[in-house]
């Protein structure tokens, strides 16, 4: 009859109280696991969004991250094709890579001069096919089809703008944007008066020059890749995008707005202009050799980041020596990701501590009640010859058993509840998203979370029994035997 068997029999002796204690532990365990699984899903979802949009790693001019937004042409990557070729053909790096694609990001002024309005924007030039390939990254097995870029299948001079840009540039009607409030008061009058006003002469000259280049490019490109401009031009509204070129001189491109999209965040909606990379390069570099501001690398797995980054740094020191480049991972480039993960980790820790405290006092209360009820038994055991340590071991064993049963059933129940939630069809709309997504609680497969929750419950159970067990062990034998 070892301590565990004796403990088990003592627990069975007061079934109702043992059951209530186990139930408290199960509820605690389920709460921690479900919330942990929910948080894990948010973190995985957030990571998936960032990795689909900007890859795992980005190669940039070493000063671009700090200074490039003010003058992107001064901090570009020249000969990006060579750099990409080196990355794609490196025998160490290649197996880890899914997509390598250049991007060009810059600030400018978008204007709807026909309506007499303009605003500052942040433009992004991308290769649509590569970006769509990046959208297919799904390391965490999220359900649903990947998003397709709104620029897909559009003409080379097409642009996609945020809802806020469309609203400010008075393009809501033309782009059939729902729920787009019209300005009132003097702004509305100004907008109506300036409608159909001609372009300022200097801007018109710049636009004409860009259009001439566009026509030349169009003549050398197959119609399969570049849809007929004339056909689309009839319906698509136009904006003029003004940006500074390499020498600081202004340049303007006329872009056909294919769509206004909701990016889920007002700041992004108010500033975003997406366009094809060649058009962006032509606007910034004209006939000069064009550059990009970043080379985006999407890896097969997030866990490869450290290895891939180390390899790229080796390449920058050898094959690509002399190129003023630096490599950043998506966490460096998106501090919001780390802040969000840290926030949820803090909330999770806080809730876990609260639940742990509740479990601690519940088990402690059970042990205290058991000790009061069994004081004479404790005295008898001590009189027979059981040492103080044996008494402690007996009560800690009971608590440990409660912990094992509570943690075991807690994990099983959490898996079951998570399964039900995941198949319930419930949806929610996380911050920064437009469309609702399935409510998913990621418990199955999160072995670290499961193991740490189970171990945590066991530790709390043992800790909660420690003090009452110590008290029981220190009872005077005579006093214990006299207890009524």
């Amino acid at each position: 009859m070892n301590s565990l068997r004796l403990a088990l029999r003592n627990l069975k002796r007061n079934r109702r109280r043992s059951l209530a204690t186990v139930l408290a532990m199960v509820v605690g365990g389920v709460s921690i696991l479900l919330f942990g699984g929910y948080v894990q899903n948010i973190v995985c979802g957030l990571q998936t969004d960032f990795v689909r949009a900007g890859g795992h790693l980005q190669l940039e001019h070493k000063d671009y991250y700090l200074y490039g937004s003010g003058d992107p042409t001064a901090y570009g990557i020249a000969d990006e094709a060579h750099v990409i070729a080196v990355l794609e053909h490196d025998p160490v790096l290649a197996p880890m890579l899914l997509v390598v694609t250049p991007t060009l990001e810059f600030g400018g002024i978008a204007g709807n001069f026909a309506a007499g309005v303009s605003r500052t924007v942040y433009a992004s030039g991308v290769i649509v096919a590569d970006q769509n390939a990046m959208q297919r990254w799904n390391d965490y097995g999220f359900p649903g089809e990947p998003d397709v870029l709104a620029l897909t299948g559009t003409r080379p001079d097409a642009a996609v703008i945020g809802l806020g840009v469309a609203r400010v540039l008075h393009l809501c009607t033309a782009l059939k944007v729902q729920d787009c409030p019209q300005p009132s008061g003097p702004a509305a009058t100004l907008a109506r008066e300036s409608t159909n006003a001609p372009l300022p002469s200097d801007v018109a000259q710049l636009v004409d020059r860009e259009d001439a280049v566009d026509r030349q490019d169009a003549s050398t490109t197959t119609s399969k890749i570049r849809p007929s401009r004339d056909a689309a031009a009839v319906a698509a509204p136009e904006i003029e995008l003004l940006a500074a070129t390499t020498g600081g001189a202004p340049n303007v491109a006329r872009l056909h707005v294919a769509k206004a999209i909701d990016l889920g965040v007002k700041e992004a909606n108010d500033n975003y202009v997406g366009m094809h990379l060649p058009a962006a390069q032509r606007l910034l570099y004209g006939s000069a050799p064009s550059e990009v501001t970043a080379i985006v690398l999407q890896l097969r797995h997030t866990s490869d980041i450290a290895r891939a980054k180390q390899r790229i740094e080796t390449l920058l020191a050898t094959t690509l020596e002399g190129a003023p480049l630096a490599v950043y991972d998506f966490r460096d480039l998106n501090p919001y990701y780390g802040q969000t993960v840290a926030l949820f980790a803090a909330i999770f820790s806080f809730i876990s501590v609260l639940i742990g405290a509740i479990v601690l006092f519940t088990v402690g209360n059970t042990m205290n009640a058991a000790i009061v009820e069994r004081t004479v038994e404790i005295g008898t055991l001590r009189a027979i010859g059981l040492r103080r340590g044996g008494v402690r071991r007996l009560f800690v064993s009971e608590s440990l058993l409660l912990g094992v049963v509570g943690a075991g059933f807690g994990v099983l129940t959490a898996l079951l509840v998570a399964l039900l939630v995941n198949h319930s069809g419930l949806t929610w709309t996380p911050p920064g998203r437009v469309n609702p997504i399935h409510l998913h609680v990621r418990v199955w497969g999160e072995w670290t979370l499961i193991a740490s929750t189970g171990a945590g419950l066991l530790i709390v159970a043992v800790l909660s029994a420690w003090w009452p067990a110590r008290r029981a062990a220190r009872l005077e034998v005579v006093e214990a035997l006299r207890h009524v």
Binding site: M1, N10, V376, E377, T380, L381, G385, R387, G389, G390
Partner: protein
């Protein structure tokens, strides 16, 4: 040969702000292999004296030797080990562990001594047979009568073959017939196993069975015992 010796033992309890002397200058020797009864009215100090002899309480002054071993200086763990191997207890309320069967209650002290399984089983079955409960080995205490429970308690007290068995009013919760049967059993066991039995009682039938009787009054020995 003495099973135990007490020299100038003194014990006082504090009740509120008042010191109540429970034992005053007790000098006592108890012969080995004898049936010794401590008698006296309630409050005379019988239970206190048994507690001191059983090493579950400590005297304020004086020396106690049990089986030739001075016990005053032993640590708590050493005292536990000493009780396990040298002293058996029979309680007025039987004090069997309710979650253990009769067999397991007798086996429990042997488990604490780490006796090998086969020897342990032999010893438990032998004791069950000796107290006439072989058929009740798998019964829980709640399934046994008062007399049967006390028989299990006697067997448990003898499990580790102690030199000394202490019984505090072992028949107080039994009817007279059952009580007499228990006394007879204890007497037989004392002779068969050559153990010293010391118990408290004011039952004349018990006193009649005793080899030695020690009478206590107000914490002092009035008569009996080797002084």
């Amino acid at each position: 040969m003495e099973a135990m010796t007490l020299r100038r033992v003194h014990k006082t309890y504090r009740l509120g702000n008042v010191d109540v002397p429970a034992l005053i200058d007790i000098d006592l020797k108890v012969r080995s292999d004898c049936f010794t009864v401590l008698s006296g009215a309630s409050g005379s100090g019988k239970t206190t004296l048994l507690n001191l002899i059983g090493c579950i309480d400590k005297p304020d002054a004086g020396e106690i030797d049990i089986a030739g071993q001075p016990v005053a200086a032993l640590s708590d763990d050493a005292l536990s080990d000493f009780r396990l191997r040298h002293i058996g207890f029979v309680f007025q309320n039987f004090n069997l562990l309710p979650v253990l069967t009769a067999y397991e209650n007798i086996e429990y002290p042997l488990l604490l001594t780490h006796m090998p399984s086969a020897a342990r089983k032999r010893r438990v079955l032998e004791l069950l047979d000796a107290v006439g409960l072989s058929e009740h080995a798998r019964h829980w205490p709640g399934q046994l009568s008062g007399g049967q429970r006390q028989r299990v308690a006697v067997a448990r007290a003898l499990a580790t073959a102690p030199e000394l068995v202490l019984a505090d009013e072992p028949t107080a919760n039994l009817d007279s017939t059952t009580g007499a049967a228990i006394i007879a059993l204890m007497r037989r066991m004392q002779r068969d196993y050559h153990v010293t039995f010391v118990f408290s009682s004011h039952d004349p039938k018990v006193l009649a069975e005793a080899d030695d009787a020690v009478q206590l009054q107000d914490g002092r020995i009035l008569a009996g015992g080797a002084r």
